[in-house]
């Protein structure tokens, strides 16, 4: 069981992630924006962060950069959600330190595949 933090301003996306990853045996934490996500990540030390890019207060890019500055979270895999299939966004997020991405809309299998890629039991 891994602890996975989902950061998204959309409760339905968070719910979706929870519904998919919960039964797979993961402990899913939620945060509604980047600032909250950063705090939760600092305190809960998740095994994986799944974050949206477009969020109020602190957006996904800022969150990724901030997480990478945390010495206690070294090597934490961070996956971002993106609706754009364009490369510029991906490059920007990767440059900020993201590990991988999931393209919205995604199916439960796709989410599980990405998670199993980055989280080892």
């Amino acid at each position: 069981m891994a602890t996975i933090l989902t950061v998204d301003d959309s409760p339905s996306i968070r719910q979706m992630i929870k519904v998919v990853l919960g039964p797979a045996g993961h402990n899913v934490l939620e945060a509604g924006d980047g600032a909250q996500g950063l705090e939760t990540a600092k305190s809960a030390k998740p095994d994986l962060v799944i974050t949206d890019l477009n969020m109020p207060v602190m957006n996904g890019l800022e969150l990724i950069k901030a997480l990478r500055k945390q010495p206690s979270l070294l090597g934490l895999p961070i996956v971002f959600l993106t609706t754009e299939s364009n490369d510029a966004t991906k490059q920007e997020a990767k440059a900020a330190g993201a590990t991988g991405w999931i393209t919205k809309p995604f199916k439960p299998e796709q989410l599980l595949a990405v998670v199993s890629k980055l989280v080892r039991a």
Partner: protein, 673 residues
């Protein structure tokens, strides 16, 4: 863990997003240059699109995508958010909403029309078709027996959360795999940065998988690595040329676990080794939980029953001598009361969620009627019981509609009267004790008392020539079928009149009041209780019967003096210089047994009117769980409900509003006599 259907969560979330979107769009009409508003609108659209596609709302996603594309130009500053554009955007929003709420009955032609209109404003070159996500790379032509791989990663990938060993594990899942770690890039220990990756790998993979499957393994790191892939034809010997001819220092073989291998290799950084132990199941960050409204209602019912049972316990304990039972009873009373408060708190919703809808209403009405109107709201975070907020929406729609339609004058009239051209409607919610006041104020012409009177006379409600106060005349507005509008406009005729508004508000145990200043405007005040389910009441006794007076209506209690008692026929009481009419509940209820020596008067108030109620005994505060009366008692006006007392007997709850009206009628009769 709750297992709500994400699609339902999406619907709920979408409706919240629509409010955000609408709010932002409407604000844009006032402040077209506000970047923040554009971003907010864009974000809402973006979420609707993204989530919609995920939960099977494909039409929503496709349409929203077009909408978003158009709006993106606004975000980039290439197109100005003009009033016309906002108007189209609002109807686009409505269309998306109906796509979600009534997917069957929504005609896609409307959507196309809206998009066409939208295109005119933003003039994008893109055709109105939803883009397909490009996927599925071309399949391999030849099926090789396996693959030879050479991997070199950018040195920072460890920091970015990629563990190369995991990737090797993924490769192993594809088939037998032989990996050689190339350590020639590893620096001396002094120069070694533990956070960087210096290793390279040569891998032979025996698998008949596609190239794309291997690409998938490295999909996240493709840009940060060099991956050389060559097919392995039939046997390893057939292709004898190694890709990088270097002697291996360490060999990672198939059966060995990657982590043991990692520990043996001093060069390999292990940033993640300790992480598994430092795990904490810390659930901070979960700020809200969505609960179905019915569950809250059920909870409230249970709490109501608990409060009744607790009252019985308290009564039993008070009758006995057992001190320990008394202590328990007190403890349970305290717990029940805080449980009640918590439960009621959970049902409270800020009234702002309703206010949002009215901005659109005002926007549309003011366009339709050609009356520029400014809409101001305050006190959005005032909280009210959820069920009340829902039933409050329709009455408020009607009041605001009235204010714009009848209250605010047309531009010419306003100019002639020397008023500023723009009308103003204020919707304000405030707390006042155990009540919430909601006021709708306009700066229009005010009520036309003469016209209301004429209408009332023509309906034979007032005898012509009768002397009446303006206030009383205005009350006829609440009379069923009363309308002074000379012509029925498109806005009226929705089956909701002021009488229905009044009935709705009174059904919530609230009151409605009108005040007006000719030429300056009208103010409608709604007074609402905080909750419908449990109230603080004052338990009283009249004869044998016990009754509850809602504490929120009680101002003070005084004794009925012999002097007041003597002034028979003139039911007035002198309260610090003010004359207050009073009602003898004994007379009203037809109580026959002899009255108590010292009767008390409870001064109650609704709005600006005060009335005294004469009772035999004031028993004390009582947490009142309201039970509604059966349909058989629908005609009973003096009581608004009933409650169960601690000893199991029932007590009726007095309807103070009706009693005040009764007392006024009585005092008028006396004045006339």
């Amino acid at each position: 863990m709750n297992s709500l259907d994400p699609a339902d969560v999406f619907r709920q979330e979408a409706s919240e997003l629509f409010e955000v979107l609408e709010g932002a769009l409407l604000d844009l009409t006032l402040r077209p240059d506000d970047r923040e508003l554009v971003d907010t609108a864009f974000r809402a659209l973006h979420t609707i699109k993204g989530s919609g596609a995920m939960f099977g709302f494909d039409k929503v996603a496709a349409f929203t995508h077009e909408f978003e594309t158009a709006f993106d130009l606004v975000r980039k500053g290439e197109v100005k958010p003009t009033k016309e554009l906002i108007s189209v955007a609002l109807s686009a929003k409505d269309f998306i909403r109906s796509l979600i709420e009534m997917p069957e009955s929504t005609d896609s032609i409307i959507g196309e029309a809206i998009l066409a209109e939208l295109q005119q404003f933003v003039k994008t070159d893109k055709p109105a078709a939803s883009p397909e996500i490009v996927s599925a790379p071309a399949a391999m032509e030849v099926q090789p027996a396996g693959w030879r791989l050479h991997l070199e990663f950018a040195s920072h990938i460890l920091c970015n959360g990629t563990n190369p060993l995991d990737l090797l594990d993924d490769l192993r899942k594809l088939g037998p795999c032989f990996a050689i770690a190339l350590t020639d890039g590893v620096p001396l220990l002094d120069d070694l940065e533990p956070e960087q990756c210096f290793l390279k790998w040569d891998i032979t993979l025996h698998s008949d998988c596609d190239k794309s499957v291997i690409d998938d393994v490295f999909m996240f790191v493709q840009d940060e690595m060099t991956l050389t892939l060559a097919p392995l034809v039939y046997s390893e010997d057939a292709v004898a040329t190694p890709l990088v001819p270097v002697l291996p220092d360490v060999m990672f073989c198939d059966g060995r676990s990657a982590s043991t291998a990692a520990e043996q290799s001093a060069a390999l950084p292990q940033p993640e080794v300790k992480r598994g132990e430092a795990r904490r199941t810390d659930d901070r960050g979960i700020a809200t939980v969505r609960v179905q409204a019915e569950r809250l209602d059920e909870l409230m019912d249970r709490v109501g029953e608990l409060v009744i049972a607790q009252a019985r316990l308290t009564q039993l304990a008070a009758a006995g001598d057992d001190l320990s039972i008394k202590m328990i009873a007190e403890e349970i009373e305290r717990l029940a009361s805080s449980l009640r408060d918590t439960t009621m708190g959970a049902r409270m919703v800020p009234i702002g969620s309703v206010f949002g809808r009215f901005r659109r209403l005002v926007h549309d009405l003011s366009l339709d009627l050609g009356k520029p109107v400014e809409f101001v709201t305050a006190g959005e975070d005032t909280e009210l019981d959820k069920t009340m907020i829902e039933s409050l929406a329709d009455p408020l729609v009607h009041l605001i509609r009235n204010a714009i339609d009848h209250g605010i004058e047309d531009t010419a009239t306003r100019e002639a009267a020397g008023k500023i051209e723009q009308g103003r409607i204020e919707l304000v919610a405030t707390h006042a004790g155990a009540q919430v006041l909601v006021t709708v104020t306009d700066n229009g012409a005010g009520l036309n008392t003469a016209r209301i009177r004429a209408k009332a006379e023509s309906l034979d409600l007032i005898a012509s020539g009768a002397i009446m106060s303006d206030y009383d005349i205005h009350q006829y507005l609440f009379h069923p079928g009363f309308s002074t509008a000379e012509k029925v406009s498109a806005l009226s005729g929705r089956g909701v009149g002021m009488d229905v508004v009044k009935r709705t508000i009174e059904a919530m145990r609230g009151t409605i009041d009108l005040s007006t200043t000719p030429g300056l405007g009208t103010k409608v005040t709604l007074r609402l209780p905080l909750t419908l389910a449990i109230i603080e009441g004052l338990l009283i006794r009249v004869g044998e019967g016990r009754y509850i007076v809602p504490l929120s209506a009680v101002e003070e209690c005084v004794e009925l003096t012999a002097a007041d008692e003597r002034s028979r026929g003139r039911h007035f009481l002198n309260v610090r210089g003010d004359l207050v009419p009073f009602l003898k509940l004994r007379d009203l209820f037809g109580t026959s047994d002899s009255s108590d020596m010292h009767q008390k008067i409870i001064i109650t108030s609704t709005g600006d009117t005060r009335v005294g109620l004469v009772v035999d005994q004031i028993i004390g505060n009582h947490q009142t769980v309201i039970k509604s009366l059966s349909k058989l008692h629908a005609d009973v006006t003096m009581f608004s409900g009933a409650t169960i007392l601690g000893d199991g007997s029932a007590a009726l709850i007095l309807d103070v509003v009706q009693l005040v009206a009764l007392a006024q009628a009585q005092s008028e009769k006396q004045q006339a006599a």
